[in-house]
Amino acid sequence: MIGKGMRLFGLAAAMLAAGTALAQYNLPEPQSPIAREIYDLHTLIMWIIVVIFVGVFGTMTWAIVRHRKAAGHQARQFHENTTVEIVWTIIPFLILVGMAYPATKTVIAMKDTSAPDLTIKATGYQWKWGYDYLQEGISFFSTLATPREQIENRAPKGEHYLLEVDNPVVVPVGKKVRIITTANDVIHAWWVPALGVKQDAIPGFVRDTWFRADSPGIFRGQCAELCGKDHGFMPIVVKAVPPEEYAAWVAEQKKKMAAAALDPAKQWTLEELKAHGEKVYAGNCVACHQANGMGVPGTFPALSGSKIVTGPRQAQIAVVLNGVVKEGKPTAMVSFKHLSDVDIAAVITYTRNSWANKTGDAVSPAEVKAQRK
């Protein structure tokens, strides 16, 4: 019986050992001064704990082994000893003071968001991140880049499964980056472990945090506050690059933004709109309405065969722009007016000409623009 138990335990131990080769057992390698302080604090506390652990459970184990009735040990009826009780109250208190001192210094350092070199606003959406570089005037969305096939086990999973995005946050190495967080719908949290930052993003409020990346690299994190069904699918990727490369990236982004701003004047064909719309759909709509347009019965309505999608185009544009409010309460269909006219026109065109929907309509960006309030 005991042998069987031991073998089971051995199996578990072997599996733990097998895990060693692949997985890590500690906080990720710190990549910023604050992350390093957190790492060192954790190490310090772990050593204190190990010492206490050995002391306390060494004593307990000794008692269990030596002071057994089966070993013929007689109970000594001692109890109540004020000196002992004062000692084991004071000593832990002193240890705690020793731990609190370095922790206090780190708390104050983490809170010091003054004099940043660069400020980025991160906005949490269900379920993606929006970034605004406040001085540079760059804005973009960052959505999960892992294909649905990998999530649904229809394709082998890539190296950065669930931790990859279409547009990473690019920052210069060695500069103090202040991240301002807020949210559009529910509370999210912007977290990059290697940089030692985690800050809740709260709708209607602005909070801030900061980091300074030590060296170039790509640092991956995830939303850390439960924010609904795709909470696990809105990663954060920060790419730290040398300052020259950063400057080049900023210039390129500005050019792209300028080009996008001109777009509404362009004449789009139905095919072009559909092709672009499919991408917008995959980034914004697919989580609820599903790739087959059938939604989730009882929770998220189907678009395929929907009266709104096959009805008058103004009504559908209104839904996408303003969201759906039922009985004075916002629904899961939130406003998408943060998307560009082109994106909205494209995604509406795509939904009107996909699955069972065959309206043949091409909605132009100008129509969307006209309906914006």
């Binding site: 008692a63 109890h79 109250t89 609190a100 999973k157 030692g196 800050q199 439960l226």
Partner: protein, 529 residues
Amino acid sequence: MQVAHAHNGHPGHGEHAHHPSGIMRWITTTNHKDIGTLYLVFSLIMFFVGGVLALGIRAELFQPGLQFWRPEFFNELTTMHGLIMVFGAIMPAFVGFANWQIPMMIGAPDMAFARMNNWSFWLLPPAALLLVASFFVPGGATAAGWTIYAPLSIQMGPGMDLAIFALHIMGASSIMGSINIITTILNMRAPGMTLMRMPLFAWTWLITAYLLIAVMPVLAGAVTMLLTDRHFGTHFFNAAGGGDPVLFQHIFWFFGHPEVYIMILPGFGIISQIVPTFARKPLFGYSSMVYATASIAILSFIVWAHHMFTVGMPAAAQLFFMYATMLIAVPTGVKVFNWIATMWRGSLTFETPMLFACGFIFVFSMGGFTGLVLAITPVDIQLQDTYYVVAHFHYVLVAGSLFALFGGAYYWMPKWTGHMYDETLGKWHFWLSMIFFNVTFFPMHFSGLAGMPRRIPDYALQFADFNMISSIGAFGFGLSQLIFVYVVWKCVRGGEKAKDRVWEAAEGLEWQLPSPAPYHTWETPPVVR
């Protein structure tokens, strides 16, 4: 403690004659032992319901990718697992122990308010029904986490409303139960039993009952505000209407932190009864144990925001809550040191209750250590909402509260049923629970440190090994609990006749009663000298 005049209710008093039998006995009962049994059976059923939900979670997390559930259903599983285990399993189980044991331990004939006692219990099944039924309403059960943070909980479907009503009802039940326990302990102790001569289990429950009365109304307030935000156009938690989503977290955790002590303090009481019995010597520091329990209870009101270190509080607030949280380590340490000092130079035997007590001290302390790690604000900010936190609170709640409950059940079951339980199976239950518990939850420390957020249905590949081990452990742990059901069943049906003083060195009034304890006990109070 000596009883001078022990006039116990003799069996065969004819007391059953006035009571309905069959199902009506249980529906109309005002007997503390019957009600205790009802609470314990109810909590055991809910423990298995919550356990099945947990296995649903672990099945999905066995491998990366989505295998079994849609992400929204996964969130329903995590939410309902939490709500059911906290409000349906752990809390009612401790109330069950209080009902059975407190009158017998303090020499009272019953609880102070016998009819209200019946009502406190019978509120629970409808509440549980609301929770379970919420899976079947449109949109399913609430998927906002057991912490039901606004504004996410405002987005939920009607399942959220059912959960809110369930919380209201269970809160009312807890408050009534607490009033009953406080009144019983303060007014119905046997002559000579001063407060400082009370068994520690009664002490810890007295303090817990005060905590419950203080914080359950706060929870009721929070969920009522949520309800009016959802349906009646208020904006308590909506910034667009001048409200604040973080306000919900402050109110919730002002309830929530004392709540975690509500779930552990009676456990401390049970352990403090078991350890001296099997060490065959008195508890090392009785009065310091009482003071430590009271200190923990008082501190629990000023540490709530350590659950909120990432919401962006000012540095001064972060520091205050960090220091206050660290202070809790002092009285908790005093308790652990006391238990070990009680074992020291004793004459130890290791029957199943003692195994669970030793397991409790060992594994609960691990949860205490990780609690200390999490108290350090900068480290907490890194680990908040990761699997490290999941590991931490399962170490204190499963290995803490649950192991204490199992220990208590094995300790007093012979007194309740009149039969000895199957010691071999009890030991198997302990060892399998202990091993599988650690296989399940120890790797979660590593997945949390490595950066795995909690409440996600799918994860990056570097977390795959730890999750697979956790899932295997969880199924082992879940199956091991079936042994307990079998042991209880067997013990109720028959077995070796239990002595009145079941354990050689057991001290306390309950051991002076016959086994099984008669339907009515201490009709004439004993005199404690």
